[in-house]
C-alpha cells in the first residue's frame, strides 16, 4: 500500500496546532514513516503544491482574500480535509471581532493605515467550513495531539473518525475532580464537547468551552445555573464567547435561553 500523501497547512492562528504535531516527539519519526508529508511549511523547505493529497490537515482560520483562494485550491486536490484547532473549526479567538464594528476595530489597531492583508470586510475571521467543505473537525485550543494521532490512525485504517458527543464532565468525573459547580463556581464543561481529558478542570481551572458545544447542549439550563451563581449577562456572554464564539449556540446563548423560557412559559401557566 502506498503511503497516503498528507499536507499540513497553517492559516491565521497561533501555529499551536502545527506545533503540537512537532510536539509529538516520541512518535514523530513513526508518523513520518507512516505517511508521506508533501507539504509542511513550518517544518520543511521543499513543499509540493501540485500533488493530489489524500489528507489535508488545516490549522488556522480564513481571514484574507488570498487565503480564501488558497484553501479552495487545496480543497480541489484533497480527498479528506481535516480542520484542527479552534481557528479552523470555529474561526478562533479572532472571530470575536464579530461582536464589534470591524472597521472601528481595525482602526483601533492599525490607525489609518490601509492594510493589504487585513481581515476582509465585511467578513470576520472564518472557520474553514465556512469557505470549503470539511470532512472532520478536531476542535480544541490547541488541538489535542493524542486525538490527532487517533484520527490519523483511523484514516490510515479506513475507519471513521469517532468523536463521542459527550460533555467534558464525562472525562472530568472519570478523573475524579471536584465539580466547579459543587464549589460554587461556573464551569463550561457541562455544555462543551469532551476529548481534552478535562484538562482545564484537572488543572484547577474551570472549562472555558474551547472544544465548542456538545451535541444538543442544554444552553438554557447552563444559563440558568450561571445566573444562580451571580453572573451578569455580560459575564455570561464572556464565558460563552471566548475561544469558540463561532459556534452559534455559544454566540447566541442568552437568546437561546430567552427563547426556551418563552416556549416553556405558556406550559407553566397551563399547569
Amino acid at each position: 500500500m502506498a503511503k497516503p500523501k498528507v499536507g499540513i497547512y497553517g492559516f491565521t492562528g497561533c501555529a499551536g496546532c502545527q506545533l503540537e504535531i512537532l510536539n509529538l516527539e516520541d512518535i514523530l519519526l513513526d508518523i513520518v514513516g507512516a505517511i508521506d508529508i508533501v507539504n509542511f511549511r513550518m517544518a520543511k523547505s521543499q513543499n509540493d503544491d501540485v500533488t493530489q493529497l489524500d489528507v489535508a490537515v488545516i490549522e488556522g482560520s480564513i481571514v484574507t482574500k488570498e487565503q480564501e483562494e488558497e484553501i479552495k485550491k487545496i480543497r480541489d486536490k484533497t480527498k479528506i480535509m481535516i480542520a484542527v484547532g479552534d481557528c479552523a473549526c470555529f474561526g478562533g479567538v479572532q472571530k470575536l471581532t464579530q461582536f464589534q464594528n470591524l472597521e472601528e476595530a481595525k482602526k483601533l489597531v492599525y490607525g489609518d493605515v490601509q492594510m493589504k492583508h487585513a481581515i476582509a470586510s465585511p467578513l470576520h475571521s472564518r472557520a474553514i467550513d465556512e469557505v470549503v467543505k470539511v470532512d472532520a473537525k478536531l476542535p480544541c485550543c490547541p488541538m489535542v495531539k493524542e486525538e490527532f494521532v487517533e484520527a490519523l490512525k483511523c484514516l490510515l485504517a479506513g475507519k471513521k473518525i469517532d468523536i463521542k458527543p459527550h460533555a467534558v464532565c464525562e472525562e472530568c468525573r472519570k478523573n475524579g475532580n471536584v465539580c466547579f459547580f459543587e464549589k460554587g463556581h461556573v464551569c463550561m464543561g457541562t455544555v462543551t464537547l469532551a476529548g481534552c481529558g478535562s484538562l482545564c478542570p484537572s488543572n484547577g481551572y474551570p472549562c472555558e468551552g474551547c472544544r465548542g458545544p456538545v451535541e444538543e447542549a442544554n444552553i438554557p439550563e447552563q444559563v440558568q445555573r450561571m445566573r444562580e451563581n451571580g453572573l451578569s449577562d455580560e459575564d455570561i456572554n464572556r464565558k460563552f464567547r471566548k475561544f469558540t464564539s463561532g459556534a452559534k449556540e455559544f454566540a447566541n446563548a442568552l437568546e437561546i435561553a430567552k427563547n426556551a423560557q418563552a416556549t416553556n412559559a405558556p406550559q407553566e401557566a397551563k399547569k
Binding site: M42, A43, A105, L199, N203, Y205
Partner: protein, 439 residues
C-alpha cells in the same frame, strides 16, 4: 520564483512559524531593494481584548503565539498585576520562571535542530536530516520534549498555559513531578553541553553588521524573566516606558509598531542578550563560552544560533536550580484557589500596567489599562519578531550584495537563512502588526 527576471521572490519562507514572503529586486547584479512581506492574516487582539475581564486576559493572549505562549502569559500577568495591584507570591513567580525556562528549552531546541541546523548541514528538513543523523535528531527531539514536559508540569499544558493565572497557580506540580523533571534534566544535560560544541563548530557566513541591541538586563542574573530595558547604545529604561522607547519612529515610517529607533532597526533576541548580559550567565554556560571559538559581543547575526546553544545550557542549570529550590521549599505556596482570581464583583482602581519578559526571540512587552470593575479598556502588545522585522531587512540589504555572483537559488536560500536566524514568529507578530512595504 517570480516571473520578473530581475525579481527574486521567496513565496513562502519555510521553517518559520507563520507566513512571510521575501522580495528581492536585483538590477544588473546589483541589489536594488529587499522587502519582507508579512502575509499572515491579522487577528486584532488589541481590539477585542477591550471589554474582557482581567483574569481572562492571560489565557486569551497565550493564543497570540503557541511557541512563546508561556512568555505571553507571563508578560500579560505581570502587566495585569501591575495595573490591578494584585501580587503574586514568591513561589508563583518561581513557577512562572520555570514555565518560561521550559519554553526556552523547547523553542531553542526546535529552532536549533529542526529549523536551523538543516541549513548549515545542507538538508531539506529535519526529517531528511533524521536519516543521516538519527542519534542527534532523536536526542534533540528528546530535549525538545523535556522543554515541553517542564512547561506542562508547571502549567498544565505545554502550549497555551492553563494553571498559570493571576496571583498564582490553580494547580501546582507535585514533588514527584518535580523530581521526575530533575532526573530528566540531569540525564539530558550532557546533550545540552554537546549542543554548545555542535553550534560552536558550524560554518557561519562571514557577515558583520553592527546594529543596536536591546534586551532586559539585571545585574542579579542573566535577565530572562525580569529586568530593565537596556540598549547597546548605553541607555536604560524601566519597563513602564516601553511604549515610548520601542515605538518612537512608528509615525515617520507609517508602519504600525515596527521596531524602529532613530530611523534604523534594532535587534532583540539571543544575540542581543548575549552581547549585553553574558557576564550574568551561570557558571557552566560562561565556562563553555570562554572555552569556545566565538566571542561576544558579536555583530554576526548568524551567531544567534550559537547564542541559543549557550542559553540552552544556561536554562538547563537555571531549571535545575529552580526545581531544587521548589522541592526544598514546596511548590504548594504558589497555589491560589480559583475563587481568588475569579474576580467577580471585585473593585479596582482604574490603572495602567506594564510587563515584559524575555522570550526565545527577544523582549516581549505587554501593557493593559483596566477600569474599576477589572475590565480591560486598553491593550498593547509588542512582540520580538515585530521588533526585529526592520533589522532583518537591513541585514539582508547589507548581506545579499556580497552574494550577487551566486545563483538565484543560492541568493534566495541565503535570504531565507538570514530571516531564519532571527527565528521569527510571524503569527506572533501579526496580531497587531501589518507590514506593508510595496505592492
Amino acid at each position: 520564483m517570480s516571473e520578473n527576471p530581475n525579481q527574486l521572490e521567496v513565496h513562502h519562507i519555510t521553517r518559520v512559524e507563520g507566513h512571510g514572503r521575501i522580495i528581492i529586486d536585483v538590477k544588473d547584479r546589483k541589489l536594488e531593494k529587499v522587502e519582507l512581506n508579512i502575509i499572515e492574516g491579522s487577528r486584532l487582539f488589541e481590539s477585542w481584548l477591550r471589554g474582557r475581564r482581567l483574569d481572562e486576559v492571560p489565557h486569551l493572549v497565550s493564543r497570540i503565539c503557541a511557541i512563546c505562549s508561556a512568555g505571553h502569559t507571563a508578560a500579560a500577568l505581570k502587566a495585569i498585576e501591575d495595573a490591578s495591584g494584585i501580587h503574586a507570591s514568591e513561589t508563583a513567580v518561581k513557577l512562572r520562571d520555570l514555565a518560561t525556562m521550559g519554553e526556552f528549552i523547547q523553542s531553542h531546541t526546535l529552532h536549533m535542530y529542526c529549523l536551523a541546523l538543516p541549513d548549515f548541514l545542507g538538508f531539506e528538513s529535519v526529517i531528511a536530516m533524521a536519516g543521516k543523523l538519527p542519534n542527534e535528531v532523536k536526542l534533540a527531539l528528546k530535549m525538545k520534549k523535556l522543554g515541553n514536559d517542564i512547561a506542562q508540569v508547571a502549567t498544565g499544558r505545554a502550549v497555551n498555559q492553563i494553571s498559570m493565572n493571576v496571583k498564582g497557580f490553580s494547580r501546582v506540580p507535585t514533588k514527584e513531578e518535580l523530581q521526575g523533571l530533575l532526573a530528566k534534566l540531569k540525564e539530558m544535560r550532557p546533550f545540552a553541553e554537546k549542543s554548545c560544541d555542535i553550534f560552536a563548530g558550524l560554518n557561519y557566513p562571514n557577515f558583520q553588521r553592527k546594529t543596536e541591541y536591546i534586551a532586559l538586563h539585571t545585574p542579579k542574573e542573566y535577565a530572562l524573566y525580569d529586568g530593565k530595558i537596556k540598549s547597546s547604545e548605553g541607555w536604560k529604561a524601566p519597563v513602564s516606558e516601553w511604549e515610548q522607547k520601542a515605538t518612537e519612529q512608528v509615525v515617520a515610517y507609517s508602519n504600525a509598531k515596527q521596531g524602529v529607533r532613530n530611523g534604523h532597526g534594532y535587534l532583540a533576541g539571543p544575540l542581543a542578550r548575549m552581547n549585553l548580559n553574558q557576564k550574568q550567565l551561570l557558571d557552566a554556560a560562561k565556562a563553555k563560552l570562554d572555552a569556545g571559538p566565538i566571542k561576544f559581543p558579536s555583530y554576526n547575526t548568524f551567531h544567534s544560533n550559537y547564542a541559543r546553544a549557550i542559553e540552552l545550557l544556561h536554562c538547563f542549570d537555571k531549571c535545575i536550580a529552580i526545581i531544587e529550590d521548589l522541592i526544598a521549599t514546596g511548590a504548594e505556596k504558589g497555589k491560589v484557589d480559583y475563587k481568588e482570581y475569579a474576580l467577580l464583583a471585585k473593585k479596582f482602581s482604574a490603572n495602567k500596567g506594564y510587563g515584559a519578559v524575555e522570550v526565545p526571540r527577544g523582549t516581549l512587552y505587554h501593557s493593559y489599562a483596566i477600569d474599576e470593575n477589572g475590565i480591560v479598556t486598553y491593550a498593547n502588545v509588542l512582540t520580538p519578531t515585530a521588533q526585529n522585522l526592520r533589522n532583518i531587512e537591513e541585514d539582508m540589504v547589507a548581506y545579499l550584495p556580497q552574494l550577487m555572483d551566486k545563483t538565484r537559488e543560492e541568493i534566495c536560500h541565503a535570504a531565507e537563512m538570514t530571516v531564519r536566524a532571527y527565528d521569527p514568529c510571524i503569527s506572533c507578530a501579526t496580531h497587531f502588526l501589518e507590514v506593508e512595504f510595496k505592492d
